[in-house]
Assembly symmetry: C4
């Protein structure tokens, strides 16, 4: 009944996931910081634009593919990094990465995955895996991760810059959310005892408190570039001057992101932040966007305002919860289908042709 | 109690229809694509304008008539094409066309009517029937329809350009909506077996999938003009450049339409799209508008922003459901009365005198 | 418990009135045309402005009085004409006029009052009664009314220009609202049989249909001026060009009004229409406003945007329903108190000092 | 369960307080004037701005301290004066002042406190107490209060200018709110019988009616300055010209305030009034703001628009109600934590670095 193939849209996936997930896990995934204003605004920002379609264009061959970092992917769509995917489904990251590979969609593995990066990268032939990471206080931990990512064949690094300190996630505090037994931050199981804090549940928080480096500056991007030949994308750029700085410090791309509304509540919606960032970047590097994408039309709006591609995070978790690999596959398929359909209905042979002319402010 | 004559406004007609129609039929008629944003925005756009009336104008002789394609009609009002009218009432298109003729209101027959175009056109003396159509992949099907329309005395062709692919109508998917036994796409009953897909229910979808031509371009308009002497209106123009192209390719009129919110969700509300289209057309051909018209004041707002006339679709179906020909007649009468009354209250001897000066943005 | 003196604001008066009035009478008073959009917008327009107060002004002697047509009245407040006040309370217009006289507030008697104008004008010493009227098709009816008004000592005529045709009031149609036995249009009881249509209930509608003149033009204002020496105010001006015409044709004042949202639904809110009208008038004649005034702060906002004074209609009916003369007195007292208090809190020694500088658009 | 330390945000403190306070006391604290439009707008104004964070800034040493009137305080935060704190907790002002001292946060004592100013000032070492006051009709009362404040070591005077007359607080009228036995306006217990009106409950109102001076002008500020060497801040400035006048008359600071929405309903939200006031002041004196601050992000927004610091009033009462001194301490700690966290997440080493560039209008 709730088989992934029967679910008609991403909101239905979310409702189906809510029905199968423990409440605290659902809340951990679904929630945002404080009053969740940014969480809502991320979606509301899309609703402030309407599409002005063109007609009588031959759209018999919609080409949704996008060239990104030298590789052609199925559409302007990536899987955003999200933590602890085994909380959603026993196969966790492996299931999601396999579905991504099957749909030729980049999968950005979270640093705090419940499967080691090596296993994720090896999960499926043709996979296009990136590793999301932080520059930890103990830079050796980061260096080791980067080396493992390179050796595993990861194609890019995605440095999250939105967590100098942890956001205030009140749902988790209310639920006293903690990782259940058997769910591990798998990339760190090889760390020496001295490196990883002890204790179930509070482990992540303790690790974050100790290792998340609130003194990080742009030189960290240069350091990261110095230890890896992989392209580095910065995830969490909302200000045009930071976009300039990102390019100055060697970033291969920026992701306009507010961490899904989980860090700074009241932060600008990503779609609202996009135009100024895209203007500043001016085509020099790819500009990606996450936050609030729930429809193919949302993807088109982001592209019309200057994004190269978009990321979805929570919907992938809902797919995973509902049907494991098949669920994620259904989610990706659904969004890619919507992108193609909306492109056709807008008279665009490719979503990448979307320009501001497509949009009308409501 | 719900006799058409007792219903005070179009929303009451809708509620009365909801009470008598099977839910899946109501949903098929009432629903829009995806999240039905455009469905709602079509109406919301009217609410963003207020009327600034003039007073002490002699309005004792309101003339609501409009000259359209060389014929004077009762008011700035047409019946929009809607599919499968026998689902609403056993007499279907015949009842609606007779009411339209009685009220001197053009009736645009849908290509996927449940009554053949010949019977619709013959239904009533003085009828002003147009045929809505698509240019199918198999152009002979279209050519034959056009010939039948001409032979039946249809006065115009209305080419729908909003369906390169089918919109995603989730209500219908949830309801597994299909045509019941005995309801046919009557214009195609003469098609050879080979031309029409088999199987109840999925028939329309299969037909659409096979025959709807997503490679159609503006040359199709020229082709259509080459096989018919009837004026051709393009239904689904929301962009000023497409309005220019329509004129360039010989269109006799354009209809600003988003297919009632049933195709591209998040498409611009028709009233929001109207001004730029009317500007581009600059009086060279009529500019019609459909989508969200529920009050006489809505008609006036559309005319003030440049429309020559407006179309109502769903309200006609509600009239049909509630009372057959008498119901449609009551709907038309009600809207025409409201148009005359609002004109008088605005100090306009004719709704066609409405100009932007009448409007105030809220 | 609901004694007028215990009611804290006009909304409480309305709720108390709702509790004592027959539903159909409440609906007749409270309702507006069609979807009641204008009814709501009249109030919403006030909410779009905030007040930016000044401080440390000596407000120990607030002078709320206003000079209007050569007479100093208690505040920038008049009682708007409303029909059939005996529906609210057996003493009807007499009670209201007495309260008005007691509060030195002009009372504008409705043409379709349930008490003759002579009795209203004689009700109280010091009364400042105006007569609201229409120029009927049979001008002798109007001429006679004007003479009676003059002989009764009325001080002004208020010509309503918003009713070329009757608005569509759906609540009344649903309720099949009609005047109960014993409630008469008292100004017309002297009319010859031939002049007044027969039949209970439908009488007003029949009278209106026969006598309301939809061919009226500006010459009617001149005609009215030619038969009376009383100042003539035009009630229902929302367009600056009509304000110009009003002055050109000898009007002594204009009232920005949409007939309380009872005629043209979707008409511009009166506060939104005010600035352009006040600009056009440029101080040459008084500009009054009615529609949506429920708080002293609303009065101040209207004055800040150019009104000389404001009218309240429905709240007076609620006062009447709740407590007859004492109820109306309480309503007037409450609003005048609020006007004085708000003036003091804004740092204005007189509400007439309000200027656009007081306002901030929200 | 509702222990202060478990409460996650200020709204939770309010809900917890609602559960323990008598309804009439809660209403007295929580309510505003008339329709409470300004009460709501104070908060809504913050929601109209989003934050555009900067990243990769070293925020390891967030310095939230602010220099205010020559003293460095813990953050851009003060406790606003609120009346009758013993209604919230038996220890009333003493508890609040001790918590304030503990958190190095200025405590502005209300003139109508339930504890004498001497006791409040003596409550805790390191306290930074200001006295809020009015210039009464009987200026000797004010002079005496000022002397007591000086002798007690108060560091500033805060003259409230929003009460020429009392606001219309309808909740209190409905509740017939009065001070219970044993709750006194403690600063006035030494007044001669002749100076203080008799009678429980109505005492405050009678005192206000007799002593609040609606003829006060700017000369009162000069008079106050002439009798005290303490810096004088004016609380209730919303207009840039009043800010100019404040400086001209010797004010040491202004507080943009609408008295928490308790005086002039429909008054401009303080955040909306701030930019013009800050522009006029142009850094010459501190500009504080109260009204609607409920999150650290609100504080940042106020600072970005020109405020030097902000005040919270009601949240302190909720803390007091829930836990006395510990509750107030928890409230202060929570807001200061949020300010630091939000600063870090915005890439600001100090909240005082916030500029308009941080903000995006939604």
């Amino acid at each position: 009944m709730n088989a992934p193939a029967n679910l008609l849209n991403l909101d239905e996936f979310e409702r189906a996931a809510l029905a199968v997930l423990p409440q605290a896990v659902y809340d951990y995934y679904a929630g945002g910081a404080e009053d969740e204003v940014t969480l809502r605004e991320n979606r509301a920002a899309f609703a402030r634009y309407a599409l002005r379609p063109r007609v009588l264009v031959d759209v018999s061959r919609i080409d949704s593919t996008v060239e990104l970092l030298g590789k052609r992917i199925a559409g302007p769509l990536l899987i955003a990094p999200t933590a602890f995917q085994k909380l959603a489904h026993p196969e966790g990251e492996l299931a999601a990465a396999r579905a991504a590979a099957h749909r030729n969609t980049p999968y950005i593995a979270s640093t705090v995955s419940t499967t080691p990066i090596e296993a994720i990268a090896a999960a499926a032939p043709g996979s296009n895996i990136w590793l999301q990471l932080y520059v930890f206080r103990d830079r050796e931990i980061t260096r080791e991760l980067v080396q493992r990512a390179e050796q595993s064949g990861c194609r890019a690094l995605c440095l999250t810059v939105t967590v100098p300190v942890q956001g205030k996630r009140e749902r988790d505090a209310r639920n006293q959310f903690s990782l259940p037994d058997g769910i591990e931050m798998a990339n760190f199981s090889g760390l020496r005892q001295a490196q990883l804090p002890e204790g179930k549940g509070s482990r992540l928080e303790a690790f974050i408190q100790r290792e998340f480096d609130d003194s990080l500056t742009w030189s960290a991007v240069e350091w990261l570039a110095s230890i890896s030949s992989l392209p580095i994308l910065l995830k969490g750029i909302c200000h045009p001057q930071d976009a300039e700085l990102a390019i100055d410090h060697g970033a291969a791309g920026v992701i306009v992101s507010n961490h899904g509304g989980r860090q700074l509540d009241s932060a600008i919606a990503t779609l609202d932040a996009l135009p100024a960032v895209a203007d500043a970047v001016d085509g020099r590097i790819p500009v990606l966007l996450d936050g609030g994408i729930r429809r193919g039309s949302d993807v088109l709006k982001a592209l019309a305002l200057g994004a190269t591609a978009t990321l979805i995070g929570r919907p992938v978790l809902w797919g995973l919860a509902v049907g494991g690999q098949a669920g994620v596959d259904a989610v990706l398929s659904l969004v890619l289908d919507e992108v193609a359909r909306v492109s056709a209905l807008c008279g665009l042979r490719s979503p990448t042709s979307a320009s501001p002319d497509l949009l009308s402010r409501i």
